[in-house]
Assembly symmetry: C2
Homo-oligomer: 201 residues x 2
């Protein structure tokens, strides 16, 4: 396809640094699936030669690793904050939910990729292991908050933990960031519904 | 791979009817992705010749259509019940949530396939259109219940609808049916948390 509009990023010698190259790679991985994406596909989308990609990374698995590292680092930082918080488990859990929604909004394509990982490569299995560690932390906070009498005891704590983060993670299916929009309302909405329910009282 | 165990279903001339053939096809679609599955892959998994599959269906898109018809029919029936219910919108919404969780549990692989559809073929686009109709009905019930004063007004109704069914749909990620297990507790858990929140009061 040709276009009459100027496309400076695709002309001449486009100046991709690793960050912008990674952003495009993640976009393509999310569209075609990681397994369905070749270095050829990435080079075509970037409008550069494959050799120019190899100047930055050893191959597509390194791009995947960098992308998954970014999302697990974001979620890991939120978990560390929640762990360090001098507050009851339910407040730490709410901090974790709020922070996770914010990471998801800020790094949407990276978290989307993380949530679709199926474990076909060592890189994917390492990311899955970190996700499982995060999920265990959520389940532990739910158990503690239940022991404190702050969370309803009629639902199994493992199910509560899964439904709670099922709601959080489902945001990647429909949320599309608007430039300059305040991210707080969505985190508020998730916390309001998850902790206090959608029924008016 | 060979096995010393008897595998009657793979020996001789296995008697697949359309229902059991479809069940295996859906399993393979969910594992490899619809686009990544060939008739060859299906024949191999079924342990029969491709021609034996063509005896039942015209090709893999017909298998996809039958599978998606099954899940949209199940969810459509629940929506019809909720529509017909002589009750306030919030009760109809709760009926819809409960019924959807039950369809999801009963037809897990079929609903999983439906939720992963991306719209690459006419069959997928038709299923997506039915999903959107279902989602519009959810949003409408949320708006009505909010107008009745039964649902919290501080979250945008479209966001409430998405988060609610985000929680419901997330069940496909982890739920694995156990033979003979009562499906009611999971629907109860989803309704308890979604409508009344996980905080104890």
């Amino acid at each position: 396809m040709t276009s009459a509009l100027p496309q400076p990023a695709r002309r001449g010698r486009p100046g991709y640094d690793l960050t912008s190259l990674l952003a495009v790679a993640v976009e393509v991985f999310n569209e075609r699936g990681y397994d369905g994406t070749s270095m050829e596909d990435l080079a075509r989308r970037l409008g550069i030669a494959k050799s120019a990609i190899y100047h930055h990374v050893s191959g597509k698995e390194q791009l995947l690793r960098l992308a998954l590292d970014r999302s697990t680092a974001g979620l890991g930082a939120v978990a560390d904050q929640a762990r360090a918080l001098d507050a009851p488990a339910i407040a730490r859990l709410e901090h974790l939910v709020r922070g996770s929604v914010e990471v998801l909004q800020a790094d949407l394509p990276y978290v989307t990729l993380l949530l679709r990982v199926r474990g076909n490569t060592a890189t994917e299995r390492a990311a899955l292991a970190r996700r499982r560690g995060f999920d265990r932390f959520v389940a532990q906070l739910v158990r503690e908050a239940e022991a404190d009498g702050d969370i309803r005891p009629d639902v199994e704590s493992a199910v509560t933990a899964r439904l709670l983060f099922g709601m959080v993670n489902s945001i990647v299916e429909w949320y599309r960031p608007r430039r300059g929009a305040d991210p707080a309302p969505l985190a508020d909405a998730v916390c309001a519904i998850a902790f206090d329910g959608l029924r008016r009282r």
